[in-house]
């Protein structure tokens, strides 16, 4: 009885800690705004006004971040699956070294990645005479670099548990190599690919350090926009936009949990 009450209290504390920042942001976004503090929490007077006053360039930054993250997730999935297949199934001599290489970006601080890409883009940009810094594809490539390990990691994990008999069964049923991959291997590892792509999306979407170096005039991602606005023209509509993102993320998370949770259920039962 005692133990249950204790663990209940403990759970409530941890939950409170996890949700507190979100509550502050969401609460303050509905506040009229204090004279002294920038953040009005708890709000003295409720209002929608900041939601209506979200500046257009921030909405633009948000749109840019979302398309960047989508491009990054897609590219990471397209590159990550063959890479993972090579690591798990390939018979290359340097397989372990390659696998380690794919984990490397996780161990380098993001700021260092930002500086490195900045330098690289100056050199390469000179050669190919294209401005990579401050361009969509320049940043997408850098985000791909930090996001790829997540897809490779999750697909390697699911491939390591893959039952090879499934592919053999497809082969004796007359399916060729490609058909076997398309009809059996890919659908079975899809939850891993999907989970990795969702991670890749989040990594790109929430990245500040790399984008700070590679953003340019008129090319600003959402985290960079928030960061800059904190510096000089803070407005509570920032909080309103953040609240919308929190709600959106929550909805996405529930949907993903539902769909992945369900497929996982289908994949782990009995056969396989």
């Amino acid at each position: 009885m005692m133990a249950r009450a204790l663990s209940g209290t403990w759970l409530a504390l941890v939950f409170g800690f996890m949700i507190a920042p979100l509550v502050v942001v969401a609460g303050a976004s509905f506040g009229r705004g204090g004279r002294t503090a920038m953040i009005d929490f708890p709000p003295h007077e409720l209002t929608w006004q900041w939601y209506l006053a979200i500046p257009g360039d921030q909405v633009q930054a948000l749109a840019l971040s979302i398309s960047l993250a989508l491009a990054c997730a897609l590219a990471a999935a397209l590159l990550g699956v063959p890479a993972a297949l090579g690591i798990v199934r390939g018979d290359l001599p340097g397989r372990r070294a390659i696998a380690a290489l794919f984990r490397l970006p996780l161990q380098i601080p993001a700021v260092v990645v930002g500086v490195s890409f900045l330098q690289l883009y100056y050199i390469v940009g000179d050669v190919i005479e294209l401005p990579l810094v401050g361009s969509f594809w320049g940043l997408a490539l850098a985000h791909l670099f930090i996001a790829l390990p997540y897809v490779v990691g999750s697909v390697v994990a699911i491939l390591n548990r893959f039952n090879m008999r499934l592919e053999e069964a497809a082969l004796v049923l007359g399916a060729g190599r490609w058909s076997t991959f398309r009809r059996v291997t890919l659908p079975v590892i899809m939850p891993g690919v999907f989970a990795g792509a969702v991670y890749a999306f989040m990594v790109s979407f929430s990245d500040l350090p790399v984008a700070l170096f590679l953003a340019g005039q008129g090319f600003v991602t959402f985290p960079v926009a928030i960061f800059q606005s904190l510096d000089y023209d803070f407005s509570p509509s920032m909080l309103a936009l953040s609240t919308l993102i929190i709600v959106f993320s929550f909805v996405v998370m529930v949907v993903v949990q539902r769909s992945i949770g369900l497929t996982n259920l289908l994949h782990t039962g009995g056969a396989g």
Partner: protein
């Protein structure tokens, strides 16, 4: 349907030979079982027939074609795996129709075939289920239906019933055998369960250490084993070591610690005083005091060392001269001597098999 021919098939891994030269001819429509202990090379042999493993030497023929270098998808064989390997992301109907889609069968024809197969394996109405929603026995049936949807020339099964409990396994043994007969598909079946092998097979290949020790019908292997290994692996048996000292009236004469014994059947070509082993099944041994030594009976005297009651029969261990132990099986109604009693054990020379000594 087709014949299968394995010609001096070998598979070596570094130092060890998983399969060390297997030659087998399997007839059209035959149910042949590879039987042997764990690690004797059954799965490796089967997977070489399927084309999942390339042999180190030897050839695989299916019908009139040498398929040794063909990939599995071109061999027109199919396989039922021990863990069934049903596609977890597909429904029962989609699983069964997988190979039909690959062969571009029209949708209507696929649906008709799936319904027909589900009827055959007694699972109608389960089309829309996922494999994880089926019991082990049901998964087994779906795996079988999938394997025969487009009838293969050869059906391979690697311990397909190993994951089922005893009762279900026995039911499925009958079921699989019925379906195989009905369809007339040439089948190579792998098991390490001798009872299963005896019950299902037209012929059994007893394997040991990568080789076939004996190939024959279940009756032949049981009644006339060719090696000590085959004799010991199928059912229980008594071995008596000795030396073959002659051959008269179609009988081998063997000198053992328990005296001179005779054997009618022999797999060995005997020359001189060769070390041999006599083998006789416990159910052929009788206890009697009446002298039956008319030349057609072997006789050994000894003491009852132990006895146990097994319901339908009583098992005795009789210790004879030269530390020889004989297992005797009596029917439960027979007179049962007390432990320590001196008895005389006899059995027909016709049931005694002479084997080369290992």
């Amino acid at each position: 349907m087709a014949t299968v021919r394995l010609d001096a098939l070998e598979k070596r891994y570094d130092t060890t030979a998983a399969v060390a030269g297997v030659t087998l001819d399997i007839a059209d429509g035959e149910f042949l079982t590879l039987l042997g202990p764990s690690g004797c090379g059954k799965t490796t042999t089967l997977r070489m027939i399927a084309g999942f493993i390339a042999p180190s030497a030897g050839r695989v023929w299916i019908g009139a074609n040498d398929v040794t270098t063909q990939p599995p998808q071109h061999r027109d064989v199919n396989m039922v795996f021990q863990d069934y390997a049903l596609f977890p992301h597909l429904t029962v109907a989609e699983n069964i129709a997988f190979g039909l889609v690959e062969r571009r069968a029209p949708r209507a024809e696929r649906a008709r075939r799936v319904a027909e197969l589900l009827e055959l394996v007694r699972l109608p109405g389960h089309e829309a289920r996922y494999p994880s929603e089926l019991s082990g026995g049901q998964q087994q049936r779906v795996a079988f239906a999938r394997a025969i949807a487009h009838p293969p020339r050869v059906l391979l099964m690697d311990e397909p019933l190993g994951a089922l409990d005893l009762k279900l396994r026995e039911a499925m043994q009958e079921e699989l055998r019925r379906l195989q007969r009905q369809l007339g598909i040439t089948t190579v079946y792998v098991t390490h369960d001798q009872v299963e092998a005896m019950r299902m097979s037209d012929r059994i290949a007893v394997m040991n250490q990568g080789r076939v020790e004996q190939l024959g019908t279940p009756e032949a292997i049981y009644e006339r084993p060719a090696t000590e290994f085959a004799a010991g692996f199928v059912g229980s048996i008594n071995f008596l070591k000795g030396r073959c000292v002659g051959h008269e009236d179609g009988c081998y004469i063997v000198e053992t610690a328990a005296g001179r014994l005779r054997a009618d059947t022999g797999a060995a070509r005997i020359a001189g005083a060769t070390p041999v082993t006599l083998a006789v099944r416990p159910e052929h041994l009788r206890l009697d005091t009446a002298a039956g030594a008319d030349g057609r009976e072997n006789r050994v005297d000894g003491q009852v060392a132990a006895s146990s009651f097994l319901g339908n029969l009583v098992q005795l261990v009789v210790r004879a001269a030269g530390d020889l132990e004989l297992r005797v099986e009596l029917r439960a109604g027979d007179r049962r001597p007390p432990d320590g009693a001196t008895v005389s054990v006899s059995w027909p020379t016709a049931k005694t098999v002479l084997l080369p000594s290992r």
